[in-house]
Symmetry: C2
Subunit: 226 residues, 2 copies
């Protein structure tokens, strides 16, 4: 809508891609597989992580937490004795609504890359901009809550299209919602045909074992997903 603005975004995206490649090279050198975990606010990223990290002890995992402000999620995960690094994006007026490659780059010296096999980056809760900024990840996992409605893949197509796995969370609430799961899956298939999905509930634990198995096997086949 505004030529000057679009140009700034393009430049920012070019710079971002360059820095993301540098991050990727550092992760490769350390042999670390990286997951970029994204969702809307309150879809259950942290709750699912709390569940999946218990029982994942045979993989050395680190977490990088991105939030506008505070360390609520980082504090929750640190209780599980997992190394957690926090990035806050409130450098400006209201804060950045996503992680970008440079923010992740600034955190790399604080990450125990030599001691971990798998790094999970929990992005800022947002369905738009996080999808636009690669941070050097191998794969993207998205959490979509059934409370958010069936049309979300059509409204936020880039997010759903760029993810390698969709965790459909809060399915324990299905009996209490008007949510049409078949319609959601059809909408998902429209924007990202064939993308794998898992039904999950951070509350009951359903689907958590399945996601844990996927994460355990990820380092051996992440290259194929890139």
């Amino acid at each position: 809508m505004h030529v000057k603005k679009v140009k700034v975004v393009t430049d920012a995206l070019n710079a971002n891609a360059t820095i993301a490649r540098a991050n990727r090279a550092d992760f490769d050198r350390a042999g670390v597989t990286v997951v970029n975990l994204m969702s809307a606010p309150g879809s259950g990223k942290t709750s699912l992580l709390e569940r999946v990290l218990i029982g994942l002890e045979d993989v050395s995992v680190g977490v990088l937490e991105g939030d506008v402000q505070g360390s609520f999620d980082a504090d929750r995960l640190a209780r599980l004795h997992v190394p957690v690094t926090q990035i806050n994006t409130d450098s400006g007026f209201g804060g950045e609504c996503h992680l970008d490659a440079n923010m992740v780059r600034s955190a790399i010296p604080s990450l125990p890359l030599d001691d971990i096999d798998l790094l999970i980056i929990e992005n800022v809760g947002n369905l738009v901009c996080p999808a636009e900024f690669r941070v050097g990840e191998d794969v993207r996992v998205m959490v979509a809550s059934v409370t958010e409605g069936e049309e979300k893949p059509l409204k936020y197509p880039l997010m759903f299209r760029t993810c390698d796995l969709i965790l459909i969370n809060k399915i324990d609430l299905l009996p209490h919602l008007d949510f049409d799961l078949d319609l959601f899956l059809r909408n998902l298939d429209t924007v990202h045909p064939g993308v794998p999905h898992m039904l999950a509930s951070a509350r009951t634990g359903e689907g958590v074992n399945e996601w844990r198995d996927w994460l355990k096997h990820l380092p051996s086949h992440a290259a194929a997903l890139r």
Copy 2:
């Protein structure tokens, strides 16, 4: 985290404030009160609007819909015989994650300002950037769903702090959640002491009459809220 970037944001916010004042002047000339309606994706903005617009016939209402892509929400509301104008923000790669004053300005010629008393602008679903960009509104209303967790006011303080009314939606789901409403309200009070709130359910209709009354009386006291 990046000096150049912060400067761009600052310039963008200055330009935005200038254009927001121009929008405000146009709305004032036409005698239109403007609500900026914001929330995370899937919190229920459109569903609550569908409910509240029925029975609001004695106020002439128009709706401006902001979405990254598509016109799902606009189509839903147009069925209620309310004039609806759509803005799509997907001018760039993945789309803008918020409305800004210039996008609203570009829609003004399409708005029936002489025929309406109240304009409701449904912003892009996002808890960060929409709060940073004034668009010329009188008041800001935020929808927060109880499915999103109690800590959201602390994680997204600018959004909760700049709103004049918080609609706490999906309260029909409270018996099925571990959500602690008292804790949420304490967190809300921490970031925005004394802000009015209403408990609502777009599904059962609870709280909708109360919000409709608030909207009916808004034109007469909007100036006091500015």
